[in-house]
Symmetry: C2
Subunit: 463 residues, 2 copies
């Protein structure tokens, strides 16, 4: 394995160009207008997996967007790594805030990425990180360094809640059988501070609709006498958190895992500067639940964010309308022990109960998933830690992330193996935002680190 | 004047078709894409005025959309009526709620309009009502029944706050000199309950922008730690009214005119059924300021309505974004003695003061106008009342409307004459809403009533 560094160095331009080709296809799973692009992307992923050395690859239909499955089985008695990733991306809106079109990748240097970064929707989340695994496999097969079996399950619905992946797994348990699941869909702290994600928050995503009168009204003739659904929705949203930014939904915190004082002290040791954090986001102050630090608020505590709101006249100029309807998309990040389905029901019941008689309210649960925590004493984590030590020259820090990969708990439940979250992006890479990017250094470092994981995992498993 | 009824009857199809031609031009003043349509509409209005008998008509440039001015001066010693109206219309959104395209007029019968109504944006507000005056003039000139001078000032910016009409009036005081100003841009109670509007609410229209982080963020990685501008905006809007639906802006009510007990008792005598009102709007309950009736809330009390709100992801599906910005358009209806500029400043100061440090807030005043009350003992009102008695066979009720024509107080101040608001639309005509319409009966009744006003006003003025 000593020549992985030089293999990456020799092939890096091709590695970049192949990724760029993949990024050009607008695989927006949330928008049904992009169905053809989704299929085209799945085809491209399949072809890349075959070229990287897989024996077999297929596009598996689901009731939604298809899953790409591929494998290279070298010996049934050897361990098997299952790589999970996704080829779909977040919608790129708001388009006017992108400095270059989201599906025309460009390479630019930034302060954090002096070696350049690829700017495109999906560059980091997750096409770029998923593609590191394809290129790591290529290295291992071309150089006869693959020590075990490998399977790939690359889905197309991660950004819309992995709606049909449970169905796919249920129907393909044998095919997907493995000893460890490897995912690169998270981040790491910094170049000189490698980290492995050991916790993810759960999620409950909901859409609400508030209906007032049966049509838009003139705000002069009816204003003051008829409930305005935007005013009402604002009051309802406002009441979901109190003056300490605690969530007011009855029962919401009942099962929240409270960390011990020691765990919180240990968390506080992670390198972090609140001034730098505020400066980077250009905010005068942070804002969150009383009694918790910024790092805690963004990882071990549940939250409630409005992800979108709309109603009435939102065009140029003025319109004196009292609208008939107002809408919001609201999501809650959850922590271990909170059940997303139960929380969704608590939200629904509460939201309906606080609506005044003058409006009708509809609460539509969208999708969700459970929080997840990986124990750090399992073979998978230890192999990953050793791989980072080899490529970074430093022991990685175990880190709880605030993000969610809703499907992760299902993997563990259905496939009975541990999940290792080896993420190589940075928090600043603007995933889900305009100008998403992925550092070239990070991309290549990922390709370099992954083969070491295969080596150590196989060795430890066989010990 | 005895043959006005038969003139209307003989010409009604042409009167309808001429109005329909005008309604086909999408004169949306708020949207700069419709600049050409605005000019085309102004041209059409000018041509119609000349054909109706005006001696002169011109399109007067302003820094914004032009004003159409026309006149017929028969004798400088006779009184002069100035007709004000507007040829611009409200934006038609939301388009998907229209049963027929807003600029393709269709005639349909409704329960309230068994003789049919013209459905189109601007049918009632204000092309249809303005055009009644053009056709009334045609009758008077063709039949030698015009008893006085008449001037027309038809503007193109009423729906965006009449931004440049003050400038136009200031620069054309002599040209616009008159004895009474006649406007049909309001409504009446019912076919068998004619009414003349004697009061209008003032208006302050404002746009607010709340900025959190300098870019859209991933709600998993930052949610709970960074202020979400939608959550904050909701809290700020919610706090603008208390549990009694009183507006909480300090000083807001200081100058509000409180009506006497007698006046309120008299108001309560107007025909009104709360059950019918709720049924028509399909609402379970009305909603407004504690201590006031629905009629009072919608006319003599000030209000605060959010006319539009937007922020974050509002497309199909889900996006877990913590947006950088959130926006709202907020308007307040004001009552006599509240100064709209002072109220706008009070709003701005208060809104900025309640923003937490974690966000930046920008308050952009849009436009506004003062409330207006017409005394019912002046010649103009008495002449109008007598005209209604002649055509409806009933004395009209003086009625305070909740709507605003912001420019009205300026007319009185600059041109020193009284304003008479002879409106023939119904509250149910869906002005500013999808499926706006204007009853054919109402349109023709307006044309029939207006010449009587000219006759009686000239007679009373000369007494």
């Amino acid at each position: 394995m000593k020549d992985i560094k030089s293999y990456v160095e020799e092939n890096k331009d091709r590695f970049l160009n192949e990724l760029i080709d993949l990024l050009k296809i607008p695989s927006i799973s949330a928008d049904s207008n992009y169905k053809d692009s989704m299929l085209k992307t799945a085809e491209a992923v399949k072809e890349n997996l075959l070229q990287a050395g897989c024996d077999a690859a297929e596009i598996c239909e689901t009731p939604g967007h298809p899953v790409v499955y591929a494998e290279k089985i070298i010996d049934k008695n050897l361990p098997t790594v299952l790589v999970y990733g996704h080829y779909d991306v977040q919608p790129p809106d708001p388009l006017d805030l992108w400095n270059s079109p989201p599906f025309e990748p460009v390479i630019k240097e930034t302060e954090i990425h002096p070696d350049g970064a690829i700017f495109a929707r999906g560059a980091c989340d997750d096409k770029g990180q998923m593609f590191m695994h394809v290129k790591a496999l290529e290295y291992m097969t071309k150089n006869d360094e693959l020590p075990c079996n490998v399977k790939f399950m690359i889905e197309g619905e991660e950004e819309v809640g992995s709606e049909h992946l449970g169905w796919f797994i249920e129907n393909n348990k044998e095919k997907l059988a493995n000893d460890v699941i490897l995912i690169s869909d998270t981040g790491m702290i910094a170049k000189d501070t490698p980290s492995i994600t050991t916790g993810l928050r759960g999620l409950s995503y909901i859409e609400v609709e508030v209906t007032g009168p049966n049509r838009d009204l003139h705000s002069g003739l009816y204003g003051g006498a008829v409930a305005n659904p935007i005013n009402i929705l604002s009051k309802m949203i406002a009441s979901l958190t109190d003056e300490n930014n605690h969530i007011t939904i009855p029962g919401f915190y009942d099962k929240v895992e409270e960390l011990s004082r020691e765990e919180r002290v240990k968390m506080a040791e992670a390198p972090y500067s609140e001034d730098a954090y505020k400066k980077k986001l250009d905010i005068k102050d942070v804002h969150g639940e009383a009694g918790y630090s910024t790092l805690e608020r963004a990882s071990i505590r549940p939250t409630l964010d409005v992800n979108g709101i709309w109603g009435g006249y939102i065009g140029e100029g003025a319109k004196t309308v009292l609208p008939g309807k107002a809408y919001a998309k609201i999501s809650m990040r959850l922590v271990p022990n909170q059940d997303w389905k139960e929380i969704t029901q608590l939200f629904k019941k509460h939201f309906e109960s606080i609506a005044p008689d003058a409006v009708k309210v509809e609460v539509k649960p969208h999708h969700g998933g459970q929080a997840y925590v990986t124990p750090i004493d399992n073979i998978g984590y230890r192999a990953a830690s050793k791989a980072y030590e080899k490529s970074f020259g430093k022991t990685p820090i175990p880190q709880r992330s605030g993000g969610s990969i809703p499907i992760v708990t299902l993997f563990e439940k259905e496939l009975k193996s541990k999940i290792i979250l080896m993420g190589f992006g940075f928090d600043t890479d603007a995933i889900h935002s305009p100008n998403e990017h992925f550092g070239i250094w990070n991309y290549l470092k990922g390709i370099e680190t992954i083969p070491w994981f295969y080596k150590y995992f196989t060795e430890m498993k066989q010990e």
